[in-house]
Amino acid sequence: MNGNDQEWLQNRIAAAVADDFYLDRGEEQRIKEESAARGITTRDCELVLREQLEAHAAVSERLLIAELDRLLHQFTDRDKKLDPKEERDALSKVVTKAPGKKAGLDPRVAEEYVATFCKANGARRSTDTPKWLVPAAVAAGVAVLAIGAMLMRKDNAPAPQAAQAAPAVHQVAAGVRLNDNDKAEIDDQLRRAQQYVEAAQYTDPPEKSAKACLDQIKQIDPEGVYRGSEVKALSSRIVTHYLALADGSAAAKDMQGAEKWLARARLLRSDRELILEKERALGLARAER
């Protein structure tokens, strides 16, 4: 490695970690690819990378994840269980700033990795209680109490009063209640969806896109009770964007491209009328719709 290459590599790494003292996996991969393209050997690249991370008190996401992986194996290889304390210890170890470092592993990345690890290795997380279980148990309890009350009334009071109690029970048992966790999850997913929209990750990659977040929100709150208007507005914004792209493709006589953008707009399952109208306008409407 000559002096110029070394200086370039040092500057490249410094630029990547200067703002947050954190080198994520994607950025590290790009730096290594760019170094390889300049003819810098992997060993020299690794050497400079380590020196620069040390010099800036920065951390490498890749190394912290490797450490988290090791800990999770340690905790789960024997019993295939990850109890809350083990999970807290493992996360605390990598998320907390190590002495001499100015950052720890991004908690969101750590949490995602733990979830993926448990799925991939068949480990059971004690914190994995299904979200529907608590509301379902509460609803079942209320239903039992109400039925008990109804039966007692039936014995003591005339029939019409018992008939009045039944609809109330039904309403409680059937109604979808959003608890604080659900609302927090919706807030979180909506914030991420907005970030993905800003980064133009509307539907691709499928697991890290605005659509994925909006789908999550719809699963939690199908009726859009909480922040429904904002969710709808964001979906509409994406659909409008795709319709504009379809217009552009059609103007360039690229009807396949236009069809592709319309198909992406349909994925959002929002503003159907608007999409149909555009399909008709572009002559792409199909008989089955």
Binding site: R50, R70, D89, S92
Partner: protein, 139 residues
Amino acid sequence: MHAVTDIDAARAFEEHLAAELGDAYCSAGQFGALVAYAGRQWSMPRARAETLLAMWLEQHHAINEKQLLAELDGLLHAFTHDDRKLDKKERQDALQSICTPRPGYARGLDSVEAERYLIEFCRINSVRVRVGLFKWQVP
């Protein structure tokens, strides 16, 4: 800026390491001595010598006692920072994590060294361990 002579120094240092580290285990003391030697012999900056040595040990699947002890320290801090207690399972997890050979390695950290470090950690940080059935005390 490192000149071409740095590459020669790095090669010479690696040749020296190959000759010195025969048993695939580099103790913390040996680590410090080798870094100091590189500084004396080739005027190599300490940070560069440490990085080169750590990379060499990784490439040759040799135990880096200094790094493993740092890992043990981090684990012990994570396990004890909230309650200042180290229970049996935490102790076992911490020791196994660094003493069990990792994939590609023939051995892990020397268990006597790990035990010594653990006791020292507990004394410095006033961490209690279980003694008998109900009693907790600093070892």
